[in-house]
């Protein structure tokens, strides 16, 4: 290290940082991270089909929810216990977004608190319709998942 004249054997306080390897490292890091960067975050919505799977095994003592699309703005909800319908509800709005809001309110207010008691939904089954597109179906599943209903199935037959 360079010593200052007139200061005896004391070392200089200002150390010089070698910037070249530092910039090299940073450029390498930037290149690597830019190449491996994920710009579109792809996630998944898990669906457990209820035909012969473990989704059906938890039916005792818990409630099940059936959601049937009539069209993109109308849906009927059937709350079932041990396969028997205990409550039937209807959700209707002017557009799909409003219908989702109403569905969310209905689930919170009338489904998850059934007869003033909080209940748990074991399985939810959604029956699609040809007038409802796949994006709308996913949005409906989103509403269920937001309300901690995660065991969801999609009815695969007779939904036309």
């Amino acid at each position: 290290m360079r010593k200052k004249t007139g200061l005896g054997k004391k070392k200089e306080l200002d150390a010089q940082l070698n910037l070249t390897p530092f910039i090299d490292l940073l450029s390498t890091c930037v290149c690597f991270l830019l190449i491996t960067a994920v710009w579109i975050e792809i996630g998944t919505v898990e669906v457990k089909q209820s035909h012969g799977t473990s989704a059906n095994q938890e039916k005792k003592e818990t409630f099940d929810l059936d959601l049937v699309f009539k069209d993109p703005t109308e849906m009927s909800l059937n709350l079932k216990k041990n396969g028997k319908r205990v409550q039937s509800l209807k959700v209707k709005a002017e557009n799909f977004e409003d219908m989702l809001v109403q569905l969310n309110q209905t689930i919170i207010g009338q489904v998850l608190t059934f007869k003033k008691k909080s209940i748990e939904i074991a399985t939810a089954t959604v029956t699609p319709r040809s007038s409802v597109n796949y994006g709308s179906l996913i949005s409906t599943l989103d509403v269920l998942r937001k309300n901690r209903i995660v065991n969801i199935g999609v009815l695969t037959a007779g939904g036309n």
Partner: protein
Amino acid sequence: MILNHSMVAADAFEKHLVNRKRKKNWTLKAAGFTLMLTSMVDMFSMLVVFLLQTFSSSPEILLTKGVELPNSVTPSMVREAPVLAISSDGNIYLDQMLVGLTKDISKKPNELLKKLNKIKSSWSKSHTSPFTGEINLQADREIQSTVVAQIMGILTSSQFQSIELAVVGHR
């Protein structure tokens, strides 16, 4: 100062000399530019921090062409599994390989079932654990939900019961 001097200089030769000197000075200035290292290092550091924050080590699945995934606010992490894609033009792809048209496959699913059985048999060869039945399903957001349901029915009949519907995450 130089400009004033050149203006003051009366003689043409003197003017020429002044101009030559000025030009010489310009070339010297141009050759001796300095790189602002501090701001460059700052920028690099900020880029590295930003990219490190967005870096994810979770498994990624290839997005099939012609598939615009729906948005979701409750996405889960992607798991490594075979990818079945239904594009907006009605084609079905299994692991990026064309299987056929949706309307044909929903009537005669033999081709798809054969390919799914191949995946199952290769799974049993490479794994000691029982078959989990996981599959990633990518479908265009504009296609009919009943079409997706029909394909899901075929998957369920072929023991692929844990279906992961691929979405674009918006938390």
